[in-house]
Amino acid sequence: MVGMMTSILGGEGEVRLLLGDEAVARGAIEAGVDVAASYPGTPATEIVGALSEVARGLGIYVEWSSNEKVALEVAAAASMAGLRALAAMKHVGLNVAADTLMSLGYSGAKGGLVVVSADDPSCHSSQNEQDNRLYSMLSYIPAYEPSDPQEAKDLTRDLFDVSEECRTPVLLRMTTRLAHTRGRVKLGPVPRRSRRGSLEREWRWTLLPVNARRLKVEALRRLERLSELHEAFKYNRLKLDGDEDVGVVASGVSYLHALEAAERLDISDKVAFLKLTSVYPAPRGLVEKLAEAVRVVLVVEEVEPFLELQVRAIAGRDVEVHGKDLLPRRGELNPDVVAEALAKLTGAELERPPSALRREVEAVSSSAPPRPPTMCPGCPHRASYYSLKVALREEGLEGRVFVSGDIGCYTLGYFPPYELIHSTLCMGSSVGLACGLSRFTNDPVVAVVGDSTFFHAALSAVANAVHNGAAFLLVVLDNGTTAMTGFQPHPGSEHTATGEAGRGIAVEDVLRGLGVRRVAVVDPYNVRRAVSALREAIRAVRAGELAAVVMRRACVIYELRRRGAARLSRASFQVDSEACTMCMACVREFACPAIQLRGGRVVIDEGLCTGCGVCVQVCPAGAIRPVVRSREAQS
């Protein structure tokens, strides 16, 4: 659903309201990018998502790769061929691609290669909040942080030049608060492109030890050159009048928080500012210039003291440096916490809301019951979890099974009332952990993984299970798409990122090909069959086998969008209050958001019900019945 004013297409000088992610996509287009690859992950998804929608018209090759490592390799290959390429991923995705990244830090780049890491301070949608600027130090790759969508756009465009000039990949670090902030972006020109890649044999692409030793020397030389270049890098800004007592060094969105905090404290003209966009290597000269002029420096940055350590190393003897002693190392920053820190350091008066107000408001706010994310009405995962619970209960295993979960909407099976998931570490870990767990515990082990995650990181773990004879129940929740990030295709899909036909690989074929002998495929909307397939598989596991059940049913939101419909069938469902015994099985055990307790009765919210019909099979009293709606109301 992209509107005209939020489209990344448009002529020079036009103004758009773009997400930071979309601005990066536009910047890549303005740089004449040839190739973009990614695996979807919040908060990075919209970068390649936006590019995929316009790729065909612009002649850019865009793909959703099966994982981040492959995405980076596809982009690196383009760079080796002299083309401009972008690889985007969420922070933890860079862990998957880290092996490749480290080698690219040695080999360098040829065509401009921009690697975008979208970090997630505060873990809005992630398993951790790691600060990927640290990868730049580890890999000898320079890192950059823009502050707002306009800068994200302009910087991305120019980073392709930096990459080619210095023959290095570059790391662009975004954080959630920029990636998902819309802002005013003035568009620049889009170049005509007519480049074709060409490959030459170059020793630097083969990292044999004999070459790697030489490449390390070159990588260090590149860093020296970048350090100089960063002194005059146009996105860095030093605001220094010379009479300031306090200096702020800030990067990314933190810079804007700091500007606003200073304005609120009415000390904007009493504080010097060094805004750093090139955060590694930090420009020594600029930092020294600030340090010589002020008494004390506050480094404002999200998550780790990355700039702080560099500032201390450069100027720690000449100036008092503060950072993570006054600002939190966990969670994202905001204007309030930065104002507190600045007030403490400068002695400026910070007007705080009266404590009576805070107390009263807190009392009202906390009375609102929490509303964690839930599986959608009609979500096939809910039906799968319900069947799994029933199957375990009927096999006498309730509460005795360890369920190793994975990354996706189905991680929500951790929460009540399902409470099935016992572990979720990272992409693909469900199967790897099950390989070990099943060996070290007496009770059966279940691994639950989604289809996109299965192709991303579970295949080698399945091979491991087969080869080493691990016995557990592998449940693949196959909803046909990468649902949580917004329905991107994966290797099981019949279409590619840009809408061309793609060969969809069936999960059960992969399992059988990898040597899993016992594979069943069921529709989770059919509770009876699903329970029976799961029970059979559980019995096989207890007899020492590896058994897989593929639970296949399209993501309900994806399916409804595809059909352009509000519900799956003409029927919606209602509770016959005469027949309802108020046993609450539907509310407490199935917990579909459409089923609610209102005025002491169980009712189904017609606006929320998608007509999946699973609750009919859940109700022991047979009180939930279909109501056929008129044609008109249906669409």
Partner: protein
């Protein structure tokens, strides 16, 4: 004096919080303002609590609104209004639907948060039955545009009717344009009947 408005938009994932924020942002851009909208994507969208910060002004710095400083809090659901109340400044406008969507699996009664908020006596509270109006129009998902019509007609946001409609046309899918326009106009009428409300003391 610079005209600056900080607006918080709240609701439940699926209610159209993002679309409402985006239409307001685009309209403000058309009016010549600088705009920033802090959104939330991903897991939180799955039926969870959803909030955006919309900042409109001559030059917006941070995308985040400090606590107790928003001029307007708009909510498409009552519990979400309460949840994000700490962003609203005393004297600010709370425009909220009184529709209560109990969180999934809640087996006790949801609290009457609107009475509690009114009881504080610190805000201008306007109940806008946007969902009810949208249901009458046959499209519950248009409740967000009812709310937009209300906000525009009572000048809670610095956006003219024509910019709002232009933004709505630009940003929402063409096949729902008709019903969204009707929703907007219905909300606009609601606001007109309430009279001219302007949050006091916008900086």
């Amino acid at each position: 004096m610079r005209r600056r408005v900080d607006l918080v938009v709240a609701g439940v994932g699926g209610q159209g919080v993002l679309a409402l924020s985006r239409v307001i942002g685009v309209a403000a851009l058309m009016e010549g303002y600088d705009v920033k909208i802090a959104e939330v994507h991903g897991m939180a969208q799955r039926g969870g609590s959803l909030v955006t910060h919309v900042r409109i002004g001559s030059a917006v710095l941070s995308p985040l609104i400090p606590r107790f400083s928003a001029d307007v809090l708009v909510s498409l659901e009552a519990l979400e209004a309460a949840r994000h109340l700490a962003l609203l400044r005393p004297g600010g406008l709370l425009a909220t639907d009184d529709y209560v969507l109990p969180p999934t699996g809640l087996s006790s009664r949801a609290p009457d948060v609107l009475s509690a908020i009114r009881g504080l006596g610190r805000y201008r509270v306007e109940v806008v039955r946007a969902r009810e109006v949208a249901l009458r129009l046959g499209e519950v998902r248009a409740a967000n545009m009812v709310m937009l019509g209300f906000l525009v007609s009572c000048s809670a946001i610095p956006i003219s009717k024509s910019s709002a409609i232009e933004a709505l046309r630009s940003e929402l899918p063409a096949r729902y344009l008709e019903v969204n326009l009707r929703a907007f106009n219905a909300g606009y009428e609601l606001g007109r009947r309430k009279g001219f409300i302007k949050p006091q003391g916008t900086s």
